[in-house]
């Protein structure tokens, strides 16, 4: 490994001058800067992150903690986050909090122990991370709007509910996975707010809810709005066993546009998160905090996008009533 000293002695100058030339900090003549930079390039110089970290106290590494890495949504977040971080010269160290709030705290502490400059957290359902000695940005939970960035889950719920209303459904089922999850509650709240006065909605939760939903459809409901593609897929299986056709007899929607949504049958109407924007904004906010600035782009929520596929259609036995929004 070639160090700053070698470049210095090679050119016949002091190490400090090389450092100044490379970082553009001190006072070095134009020509000298050029000479040093080209020579550094030639020798393939890479600054030692360890030495820099020791001296400056900054590692250039962010910690990423996710509730459960096996969540199918994780890859997209991790990927975009890692790419966004890359553009700012930051690396991402991962950890998962394996289901418990306690493990979440442990993971955060370990990452801090490793000297990360900041933390990105997708919190456990219903938890808020402890205060940490480094900046923290919370993703997908609108706790503290100053250092949180989240998809507009309520808005997404409204989008899909409005779609269902627009194509003529009047009696619907809303199916959530776990009422502890703030995200899911937000989505449902958004759905409910977007329903019209003449509509009727039953809200069910969890595995029991799947069975209840079948009954409700048999009693006349024509659409099922779920808070997750996974729940939608499970619902689809139950409907199949109950010999209820999708979308002919009942429309079905998911949430998150997971990998299998476009290739299941029928292709699932769902709501997609703008993961790129969320990631970019999270990185923006945390880098601002690290530099001690106030981020100009506060954690407003990021709009979601309705993806209409084949699992939703106009209700059977009912005239098409198309309302303008």
């Amino acid at each position: 490994m070639v160090s700053i000293k070698e470049i210095a002695s090679d050119i016949g100058v002091s190490a400090a001058t090389v450092s100044n030339a490379l970082t553009g900090k001190g006072r070095v003549s134009k020509e000298m800067v050029a000479r040093i930079k080209t020579r550094a390039e030639e020798l393939g110089y890479r600054p030692s992150t360890a030495a820099r970290a020791l001296k400056t106290g900054q590692t250039g590494i962010l910690g990423l903690v996710m509730p459960d890495l096996t969540n199918p949504l994780f890859p997209r977040i991790a990927q975009t986050l890692s790419q966004a971080a890359e553009t700012k010269g930051l690396g991402i160290l991962i950890a998962d909090s394996r289901g418990s709030a306690h493990e979440q705290s442990e993971a955060l502490r370990r990452l801090v122990g490793r000297g990360v400059d900041g933390l990105l957290v997708v919190p456990q359902r219903g938890t808020t991370p402890d205060p940490m000695p480094v900046p923290v940005v919370v993703i997908n939970t609108a706790s503290d709007p100053l250092n949180a960035v989240s998809a507009d889950h309520a808005g997404g719920g409204a989008l899909v509910a409005r779609h269902i209303a627009d194509i003529g459904h009047r009696r619907v089922v809303i199916l959530g996975g776990d009422p502890v999850s703030e995200v899911q509650r937000d989505r449902i709240a958004g759905m409910q707010a977007a329903l019209r006065p003449d509509m009727q909605a039953s809200v069910f939760w969890g595995d029991a809810g799947v069975a209840q939903a079948v009954a409700e459809v048999q009693a006349g409901a024509t659409a099922i709005l779920t808070t997750s593609d996974l729940i939608a897929l499970r619902m689809r299986s139950q409907l199949m066993q109950a010999q209820i056709a999708v979308p002919e007899q009942v429309s079905l929607t998911g949430f998150d546009d997971m990998s299998f949504a476009p290739i299941m049958h029928p292709a699932l109407t769902t709501v997609a998160q703008d993961v790129d924007t969320i990631a970019a904004r999270a990185i923006d906010i945390i880098t601002s905090h690290i530099r001690g600035e106030t981020p100009d782009t506060h954690g407003q929520t990021v709009p979601m996008r309705l993806v209409v596929r084949n699992s939703t259609t106009i209700p059977k036995d009912q005239p098409t009533r198309r309302h303008l929004p």
Copy 2:
């Protein structure tokens, strides 16, 4: 942050002694070790990873490069790898190679630039990572058996093919996604090797293959063996459109036991990777290499496990012929 010096002056001893006591390296009396350790604990001492890295040249961080973080299988690998690394006091820095072999090399180089002690690579389809200045362990591609650990894809293929043969199928379709992928070729080779002499198998690839498979089923094939749950799901959609019932008219199998496999309808018979073992072994091998040892556990392949669910059954219009393995 409390440093080694503070503990030293606090107790009235030199910094070197504290370091020796904490790492157990030099010569320190039992009592002194105890005093130092308890005092360090009290003060909440955390060694500076930066300083240690600078001095020893080791960061305690591994780089993980995956072909495409959006692959639904990634989370499980990342999670188990991160947990296995954790037990050895190592952190994991992620990067993805976004589809191209060139990006893969770039990602590797960036991680090396960050000073990782070793690299874990799940290579792009059909590529072999360049030589690197740190130890590299390749996952799921049996290139160099000394520093590679892989699921026994051929064995997995054999498992599922034998299952299909055992329950009486005689004319089958094998459906792969991309012939460039060594993993998929291995799986198919395993399937073919396990077929009986009196069986007949057609191999198709990609999106076109899905349509061909439908035709082949209509011509008399009673089972479709795919190399991925994603392909199986796509196949299922096509079969549905063609009004072919699974498993009544055709049995269907996947690969990898992805999140949706148990909840699709019918629940998918598939082959699961022992991700825990793969991850643990990968970490074992790489830590050995980092310590300069020869790993005792060479990269043998890790057996796969057949998961029988409802998508496979005895062929219709045919006597049940149950053979012993």
